[in-house]
Symmetry: D3
């Protein structure tokens, strides 16, 4: 299966271990971004994944492409543009202290890119699946236009489209609200992935469940799914990730999936010693796409997605460096952490 | 508010992560010491903090002053003296293995400093609060004399005085016992901070509670407070920190406050993935001083102090690198560790 | 007491912290191997420990010997041979993600060593105890022959012999099964250490207990011990370590000991923030040997062994860098992790 | 003497040692910029130095201020503004391979700052000297306006003004050429510092000397100085730094000074094992300002400036971490590098 | 142009900076090997480069492939095989102390690979150039057979063949001498690259020049070239690299090229602050292949090759991380190391 | 041959690479001291070396002993004492910037040790050579007394005594001048090693040569040697090391040797890329002792000593990590730095 993802990839700068910003004069420099994370994860699962973006023509842009190729992600369709590489500074939390992100992504090449700058015919030739998120349209009007162009072209090319709503309150600064833009874009999605806050902030559809409490009420999530399906008849499948944040180190992690007929609730993983939770949602998206490709039963697809993203929490960096075999071992019940010799 | 703290600051040398001493040929080199930690924390809270000590005239002393200035601590009143920079070697514990400290602080500049070497008139001009600990008088007779000089001069200048009893069994080697000295000094304190062991070892006042058991009995702590107030009528407020050490990684953390009228017991935080507990008590002192300055209600002051020091456990190094906003978020109940984007 | 251990020592290469293999271009390079780990641990406990192996004549072999000497292990009886230094690559797990080992130990000097290459008379002169594991005979036919030679010569020299069965499924590739070889070797052991899987795979003696479940049934372990004693009348003592792997970070850890008369079950430690579990079993062997030497009561010996190996989980690297005093503190009940100042 | 410098300070991100960009996933993160470098250097020389800029209100801006305070630079007059922290990525050259800089400084807070945003009355109150460079006016029209405002206000306040022409060909992108702007600004400078290329590109005044050849012709530099004096009668002193780049590791370093009467040529230092040449020119400016303050004889001032900036090449980072005593030792002829015990 | 290179790639393990082996417990872990280095360098020059080898199926082999892809090297034709990843340990020299290599490459997957294991039809389809070295046939009989197979198949497919003689005295241990094997293989090479020692040890053709002296005698090298051409009429071009090792930090570097008609001697570079000389010869090979592709004049090709490999000495790791533009700048005479802003 | 050395060993704390003190919060932590350096070097040459000192009973003292054992130095005669481990902080110079040392060695265990605390009978049993330096008697009166005790006992035991004068101007603070003490001690030395400054400051014997100029006048050194022999008839051999400090990176290095009959001047090495010059003199002492043991001809002994200490400059840390084979290669003329594969 050939999957295309499209969006922004940033330079990620993080102080070592659990240090606060500039506690020592070192930053770990890697790359990451919602859609690129999905592409890397799918390439790690052995699928043919291609990432499309616009990057500046300098050594940082080249290094970024090299890093993607390392994971076997096809970078041939990445365009060059003016502007800079977006950056995000990440500080790892610990215990009651939250992780912290400072975005420095304004004026990136992708933010300045205009519709027409990418050859979608080439991009979608032979493609089976296209994945976007709600982050790209939040960056700039032109990026939102480009996202719409991508989605409509994908649909026209007969490519299945998935969208991770991914609401970010500190973006959406170019004059339009998330709902104005996202409600339109979602009409072109076949599969939707979100957490409860995303659904509310991007689509304006709310639940009664208290998202800050730890305990989940399956019934309420089923109701929420149905509301979304009612509003967007184009959606074939909606997955909602359920994160119970107990501390920066300890989260509960599960998800539910609704396909218009059945409401499925996954097993919940207790993740007690989180290494890095950034990219958790992206690894779920990749897991779900792979799961739907590899398994007949949606229950298995959901199970694969949740296990894959559970494992992401044990890996530093945005990318989910796990194999299908490792995810399947956890799906099969082995989370014992015994040394594999 | 202008706060002055006075005492020893040391070079802190620690092997990386959880390594034992000299497991690899690297030491993390930072600075710390009870009273300096309080000054840094208060400067981080936005107050006007000044630290007074005696340092050797070499690149290590200069680096130490530079590090304090970085946090906006006023170093203008730091005196120069003979002797060396005190050092403490710290090894981080893990689980059932305790953290370990080797002191190499003998013959430091502050240990050799004599009364008269600091211009207290300048130091206390414009000051509102003065903070000392039981560590400085434990170093040498002259340092004890200097502490007494400082406290009496502060009182005379109309400056509020707080003292953290901070008993250290490996100091007090110059011929006097902690009780001989501390019982006298405490007479000049308006606010006292201590843990139960400090009260017992420094003042000779004991409780029946078993300090090695995890469970606390509020009643007993109230009784202990009353005993201290009975013995030291000068004390206006006594705060006792309550640490339940379950392992090197997991502590319960709370405190109580008594003002002669009301006995207040704080919320208890479960800190399950401790990054660094050194400086926990100092961050409580700073939190309490800030809390008493910023809040009308002593309940809020105590709550701020406990939340501030809870967060300290998530930060490596002696200094509590948190802002008022972050402490207030935890006071307000958000210890969920969700990524702040 | 003079103890000799014999076996393979490898170069251990591990990515930093919890990184996956080659996530960054750095490897932590230390040394380790079952029998060497036991020697180092015993030297740390103050005993006279000697390690015997065959190493290549190059800077890596020399560095390895230097590292052993650092811990006061006698390296004078280490022979030089053709071949290379065995290597094992270790990736630290986290939470649900397991640790992973890649062995690159084929064609090591010890694998190619023949009986006769070590002067056992010199080695066992003055020795009280000899310790081997089931790893060496798993490497090659000649290493198995050499192990048999060592054990028979030790018995002949009146030296007490202990053997850690230590089954490794990825070794035993030279044409014989573990049971073919181990059943013969165990006949020369006075003390046997194993986990349940080792007993089953090396001796073919099984239990009904489900080794993947967390909960232990003491009765079944007692029964298992009796089966082993029945099959091997030469065995005077059998210790079984009981690891409950809940995640890569959290294990339960205990052990039982049977001497033909009494079945003793140790206290169980909850180890919730594991730093490094590799070498846990080896540290138990060392703890048991020291315990049997230092205590009259087998209960104390077992207690020492379990506490020693509990502490190993807090230390990175194969070697258990703890002192008798630290083990005794934990035996005595202090696992509170309070800072030792 | 109180000196004020004004301009941009950036986050400097550099791969470790001589690595190329992203050769490993680490960047050394420090701060630097022409005018800030001058302030730090002067503070290290014991003068009262204040740095004025506009920084974003986030943890990066705060860390930058903290780093300046560490060196005793007054940061009270730093304003807060919208926009981001400018960044420059630096790759260290070696031998025939040149060092490389990627600027990511567009849309910084200082670039967006407007005249009026800084309270120059407060800034120049008590000031003796004001230093700017040709970098700030190269960033944006408003920054050029702000520079002009600063220089005119300084003159009005009776403050001596120095300007480092500092031509950067990759800036000057907002629609005006360097000469259009700089020719106007230089009219407000009392002291000018430049290299030959700066004079040519910023003022349009050329020399016949071949700047790419290593050998200098003093006569030609004297002629060049006279041309500048003829064009700008306001200039009291002009210093030209003379760098002979033989390789990334080996430079010749000297300078000349002209005051309208005498033309002085300094000693030339052979710097053969360069650690970091970035900030070399800035350290010369600081050395010259200090030299003019501390010495009667301009010859000494020039000599101090060249020695100070020679030493900068031995120090990593933008800042010149040397003391007056160290510069004087080199001035006095001791460049032997003997260990100072 | 599509280039294929074939041979061994190893894990390269090096202590940090100039440390001796195991001076600290860290090794820098990268990958390298003669033929892979050539492929990476050519891909960096923008050509379509493919590397063929046999790797073990484990995380180390996968990481190696990922690292090659990062540089845009095609890894699709890399086969999987039994055996291990070869390793070489490298210690950086300094001054009079030489760099040191410990090979641990026995029993690698490539050493055990048999003719027939690679699909040469696919490999050479569309290929223009094939490059091998004298290292692969030195590893084992089967690797020598495989090399012969590769060269004959390349010739049959009309692909140009280059061979770097690359004599290594510590290989050639499987029973044949270098000359026995290399004399046969060289018959299939169109272009030969070597240093003087290689010619002597691999082909048995000697010169009178003293290879340990620094000074070169062009005449003698021309004579040597003619001898080789006389012995091997198939050779169209012979390049000899001329390294004058003055110390571990300082080498002279030049080369000569003979095509049967003209003898060309390149400029000599003085490389005084070597970062890493390993891979210098490989970077020359890549430079020559690119040069012959890009330039009409062989003089330019040689000039490009020498400049490219001069720059390699400034880069750590086996791979030559430079662009065509950077090589051309040095060819054009700019080795001044001025900062490129 | 069994050699004993006696003196102080310190913890050495150094910022990474060429950083100034506390430029980043890391210190490299190793051990070193004149006499220990000699012992390590001799053990590396394969001799039986024993180091005698007094160390505190804590983890730092234990780590120090472990580090010595790693090099095969016998630590059995190291005594335990009160007091601390001496420390020296070292900052690496570069080019014109000198290296810098801050001593923090007051109140060390060895400084407080009294005559009688070491069992010299055991120490000198079987010993052939005893080496001391002028550093130990410079620390304290009791350390001077202990040095005298050691030297007289060595002489009495028939052990050859060598002394490195090693003058340190920042020691000698306990009330006696270097000359008062050293003139007496030198009377018990058979072999003396010194540089010209040492001879002048420790013995009061001067030369006319200008020690700050680079060029040496052999005649003057011969004259100096004769003056020393005239004053101290007990001396059998005097070696003077001749360091020409051109910069922190570049030194000339040679030595001369006088035995009362012949004056020998060694080859001079140009050391252009110094890694670490600390311990250079100690490595000469060790080289001379080994040379006198291994060679008939004093010329060879001197040659070995100079080559060994030349190589020391390429190695970081106090210890000279080179083998006899490596020194002999350099003696034989190979300083070409060619990679040893």
């Amino acid at each position: 299966m050939r999957i295309v993802t499209f969006g922004e990839i940033m330079l990620r700068l993080k102080p070592p271990s659990a240090e606060r910003f500039f506690q020592s004069p070192l930053l770990e420099a890697t790359f990451g971004g919602g859609e690129a994370n999905v592409a890397v994860s799918l390439a790690n699962f052995g699928l043919d994944a291609s990432f499309v973006t616009v990057l500046p023509k300098n050594d940082i842009g080249e290094a970024c492409k090299g890093e993607l190729r390392r994971f076997n992600v096809d970078t041939k369709n990445i365009a060059s543009g003016d502007g800079r590489m977006g950056i995000y500074f990440l500080e790892n939390g610990a215990n009651q202290r939250a992780s912290k992100v400072i975005y420095d992504r304004a004026n990136s090449s992708i933010a300045g890119a205009q519709p027409g700058c990418i050859d979608w015919d080439t991009v979608f030739s032979g493609a089976d699946w296209f994945h976007v998120t709600g982050i790209t349209p939040a960056i700039s009007q032109s990026a939102a236009d480009l996202t719409l162009e991508a989605m409509t072209r994908a649909k026209k090319a007969g490519v299945k489209v998935s969208m991770d709503l991914n609401y970010r309150k500190n973006l959406w600064k170019y004059g339009k609200s998330a709902q104005e833009v996202m409600r339109e874009l979602v009409k072109y999605a076949d599969v939707c992935i979100a957490n409860e806050e995303d659904v509310q902030k991007s689509l304006g559809i709310t639940n009664e469940a208290d998202i800050t409490s730890g305990e989940l009420d399956a019934k309420q999530y089923e109701a929420l799914c149905k509301k979304v399906f009612a509003a967007y008849p184009n959606i074939e499948m909606l997955a909602i990730t359920l994160r119970e944040s107990k501390s920066a180190d300890y989260n509960g992690w599960s998800a539910c999936l609704y396909d218009g007929k059945e409401f499925l609730l996954s097993k919940k993983y207790e993740i007690t010693d989180i290494v890095d939770r950034v990219g958790g949602g992206d690894s779920f998206c990749a897991g779900l796409i792979y799961g739907l490709f590899a398994y007949e039963d949606k229950r298995d697809a959901l199970s694969f997605a949740v296990a894959a993203s559970c494992l992401k929490h044990s890996i530093s960096g945005d990318f989910n460096r796990v194999s299908v075999k490792e995810v399947q071992a956890l799906m099969g019940g082995d989370g014992s952490g015994r040394v594999q010799r």
